[in-house]
Symmetry: D2
Subunit: 278 residues, 4 copies
């Protein structure tokens, strides 16, 4: 018995569920879970099914392609570990949260490398026998540095996702293009509040009573990509911005780890600048 | 064009979605939303579809019955206002929250009566031109009082739901049986914590840091029925139990109103002592 | 025995607590609660005490003034009902939440009037025997309309607070100045996200996973005043912006009512653009 | 300049704040923060001050003792790293969360050892150069095993706190007595719901819509000690109990780490079976 995750999205049309469920029935697949959503505003249909059966991936793909129109996006995935690269700067809380889950076998991923612009987190990462690459940005302009980072990444053939686990440098469109739809980031504010630098200082300055964090796909617009998950925490007048940053660490790591899990389980559709998550 | 809510639950079996979606396709129904869940532990299938089309309710029902096995539970509902009776004692926050939504036309219901064991809330209810029935329990034993309440309720033919909006008396199995699966209650604790009398005092005594409220269907076991919704709020050492009760009012009213909305929109399946909510 | 709330804020200085607690001791006052906060960044001291004793308000005030420097802000209040005016447009959920609490005697306030630019909510308000004033903005420019609103308000001598309970018009600096530090507003977003018109549409457009509401004092900058309270609720891809607005109603009313309670209990200091809340 | 945390609790009495603040003034101490609480139900006064000044700890202690009655509990602490021992069984999420914070220097503690009844987590702990002691319970009765654990712990002289970071064995009164008020535990439910074994299975069985975790001091009654912190997370009908356990991990680790921080910062008073936390 093999398991498959089938993600379909297309222009909405009568009979889609019928055609797909007919195929599942004929192929004698067990439907383990099934989610559908019609975005009526944009006339879009989204469906994610997890099925189980005695069939080869290639054959199932072909069968699905046969019944679906050519303009349908089909993503057929057999569950398994994806290859991810983590990028970090100096803070360890998001990185550490992922490493601990990884070590416990709770992550559906291989961490093939950690890349950083500092060597500060090298000792931590190497405890977990993961290669660490320090590509310092010192004395380099943004483009030169990024080119070096891209060179570093290029040695890894099959990167499924790059996880910016508090990587504190802005990526250029060039970088984003090279790994389009494959980069997720944790932003340390409740977006769209406090875009940009030092959101905790901004939040403190504004006197908000709740702070948050946002995990999102990275697009060319800084902190403007499709949001995957968000979470918040209450703060009070006696929180300095440093206290906010401290309290925010828990929210950041939980939010990023939750988003990473959704990504690794193929639960997310991206449409325009938004996500549909089953 | 008519709209229908179709709720189906039965033993899980291959081909159910196929058969149902085939029927929808043949009848040229638009599927506005579609949710499925397989409870693999209990081998149960749940499905809720909202469809739209040119078909009479009776015909659709017959068509559905034709394709479904006899052991399938089918609930076909045309959206519309349900008849509800509210029962209260002395507190107005849950009642008031429902009245304000009702007045604004936000409730998919007719409030046909409010029944209470006190006359305290009569002035409030009558502002909204809703009949108020005071059935005092003074000098009556439990059974005699309840019989009088049941008599009072018996004048209303088509009660869809009875909402215990802080009705502070325990119902006997006799009452529960008369309105089986039709009674929802708000309990002022985060069940199963603090079952029974004065949960805020119990919570204060225990020194909890979070209190909550639970909306549930009423069964014979006090505070043990299927849970519909729950919510919580943080408390601190400086909350007296009266402060907790005050803070809890918001949680209670929100939780009950949210549950009532789910009930009125036919979003809930009850299976054993649990709910499946789409 | 009389009760007083004493709010003191000034530049931080050694011995303040000593001097004040010495006075309380000499006057044989019971300290029911005592909160202090030093904003070390701005070198500011805040203190709120609730005390009880056999002393006249005037005498206590004089005694306090004698021991405090001239640059200290002293606010001495005897608990009691404050006079508030509610301003609304068409939506009833925030208004209704306040009315129900008011009717139950849970509000430390007299609602002396409700003012609106529509007559839609008149029937609801008059159920509660509260004067309703409709000052239509139709065919009037902003200044002319606001002048009429100010005239309407001018008939009430002792307005302690004006509560904008979903009043959907922007106030001019002229209005804000007339009731400086006395106006609180509910904004239907998690500020500073989605300032301005239709925040739910903005939130839906952005694809956020959490929406919120913010109660704040009104200053000249739209939605930029000192924040009193905020709360949030999770949303998903299947929430249309109308669903978000519906879900947001609960958050709005709870957040505004909570802020109103804090205001009426004299728990808030405003310093620069922020609040200190005990 | 030295910093001190001063915690005072006693029967409430007029003039306490006056006497203490007078001493602070005379000793020219800066008050960095000051919190008081009167539990009027139990007639108890609690105060925590953080002060800064040119004074020796012994002298300050003596001065405080001089002005306070003999029945006053005084706890004077100079900030610094406390010695903690972690106890674990097989799960790494709480342990890992503490280790990552420890490695980052965010923990006001020395982890002097990790003790477990399995060797499973030894590799993880030793990455961080912390001694790991496996005291297997296999083939031992409860008392014999616990005696061996106590022997193991006895080699460490100055244990300030023992943190049960998912130590899945029940401690006997003998153990609890040996480290009275020094043991904190994370229970994987929202106490007092689901006391005892496998709370996630119990929660799933009950069909709750929210699950939680509780950090508390350990007393002789299982899961009945004073609660330090609690947090919750929403669940749905499609969470199996294993899913609940997975989702609960985040709540458990955050709740325990938060409680540990409060403990290490000397922010907690325990009175009867409750905590007062500043």
């Amino acid at each position: 018995m093999k398991q498959f995750r089938i993600l379909i999205d297309c222009t909405d049309k009568k009979g889609l569920v019928y055609k797909i469920s007919k195929l599942f029935f004929e192929l004698e697949l067990n439907i383990l879970s099934n989610h559908e959503f019609v975005d009526s505003e944009n006339d879009k249909f989204f469906m994610r099914s997890v099925v189980e059966g005695n069939i080869e991936e290639d054959i199932l793909r072909k069968k699905l392609e046969n019944i679906l129109d050519s303009n349908v996006n089909l993503n057929l995935v057999a569950p398994g570990k994806k290859n991810i690269v983590l990028m970090v700067t100096k803070e360890s809380h998001c990185l550490g949260d992922i490493l601990i889950a990884y070590e416990a076998g709770e992550l559906e991923a291989n961490i093939i490398a950690v890349v950083s612009n500092y060597d500060l987190l090298q000792p931590l990462v190497e405890k977990f026998n993961i290669p660490y690459f320090c590509v310092s940005h010192l004395d380099l302009d943004r483009d030169t540095h990024e080119t070096k980072v891209l060179e570093c990444l290029s040695q890894f053939k099959d990167i499924d996702y790059i996880v910016l686990a508090k990587y504190m440098r802005i990526l250029t469109p060039n970088f984003v293009k090279a790994y389009a739809t494959k980069i997720i980031n944790i932003h340390h504010s409740f977006l769209p509040s406090f875009i940009g630098a030092n959101p905790y200082k901004q939040a403190h300055e504004r006197g908000v009573k709740i702070i948050g964090a946002t995990a999102h796909f990275v697009t060319n617009d800084l902190d403007e990509g499709p949001i995957i998950s968000q979470d918040v925490i209450n703060v009070k007048h006696d929180h300095s911005w440093q206290d906010m940053r401290g309290a925010g660490r828990d929210v950041e790591k939980i939010t990023l780890s939750r988003a990473l899990k959704l990504v690794l389980e193929d639960r997310i559709f991206v449409h325009k600048n938004k996500t549909v998550i089953f």
